[in-house]
Amino acid sequence: MIKTKKGQLIILDVLFSIVLVLLAFFLLFKLAEIDIYKTNADKNIEKLNSVGTLAYQKLLNNPQINCSVNGAYVPGTIKNTEITKAKLGIPFDYNCSLNVANSTECNQTPPGTYRVPIFSVDTTLVGCSSILTKEEYYKYILAKQAPSTQIVTLKIWRNN
């Protein structure tokens, strides 16, 4: 449309600058998208950690699970009772795996894919029928002869 060399040159400059600005916008959009994706992923990890930490805490310190000595509950002990997700404070949208005999609800197989984050913690628990005797308790505390110690792995992940 503009026939002079000068005119064509200026129009081309403007067109180039428009293209460059558009490219910069697209780059900014992509960066913002990546940032939002990262924030959402971080939120899911934070939630999983919160659920996992609470479950771990409730596994170790829970009158519904712990053995008692003269009525006092001993942290880190596990009596022969059913362990449910509710007792560990795990909501229905999370699955769990716990390698003890009475964890009927926490017996799912963890997903093998790396895309699903899994909260995992190993801990040592002391088993008992329901009540520890004083003698057993002292042995446990003094670590002389811990009665039926077992290493337990608690794994928690979100349902897909």
Binding site: I2, K3, T4, K6, G7, I10, I11, V14, S17, I18, V21, F25, L28, A32, I36, T39, K43, E46, K47, S50, L54, Q57, K58, N61, N62, P63, Q64, G71, A72, Y73, K85, A86, G89, I90, P91, F92, D93
Partner: protein, 147 residues
């Protein structure tokens, strides 16, 4: 139209149109970016508020099953929801029959749902708790009553 003076006018016009478009697009983009960032920040804080309240209530539940405890109370202050420009009003309400709590905010109806395992049989909770308020839970005849 095609003389030098005319060409200059068209170039200036094109540049002006470009500048106006640029400013408009940039302004819209900036507004959208700020809005998205604020929503993300609010969602993040809502999740923290919901999870920490859920954790507090879950720990209270243990008191029900400890036969040694007959008298107990505990309090927790809900954190407030803030973004750099202002403080946002928010509150938490409970749906214990379906086992979840919702953190609401006064910002574009943004809310966050947190699933829980607390039930009606174990807890009596207020209809809503505003952010910044103190929740007091007491053990009353085999139930945790929070006000």
């Amino acid at each position: 139209m095609f003389n030098k003076k005319g060409q200059l006018s068209i170039e200036v016009l094109i540049i002006l149109i470009f500048l106006i478009t640029f400013i408009y697009v940039y302004n819209s983009l900036a507004e959208q970016t700020v809005y998205t960032l604020e929503i993300n920040k609010i969602k993040e804080q809502q999740q923290t508020i919901g999870l920490s309240l859920n954790e507090f209530l879950e720990i209270q539940k243990d008191m029900l099953y400890d036969v040694n405890i007959i008298d107990y109370n505990s309090s927790y202050t809900l954190q407030e929801l803030k973004i750099p420009s202002k403080r946002i009003f928010c509150y938490v309400d409970f749906n214990l029959s379906n086992a979840y709590l919702t953190v609401h905010s006064d910002y574009s109806n943004v809310h966050t749902i947190i699933n829980t395992t607390i039930t009606n049989t174990e807890f009596t909770l207020p209809e809503r708790i505003n952010c910044g308020e103190i929740v007091v839970c007491e053990l009353q005849s085999n139930k945790i009553v929070c006000t």
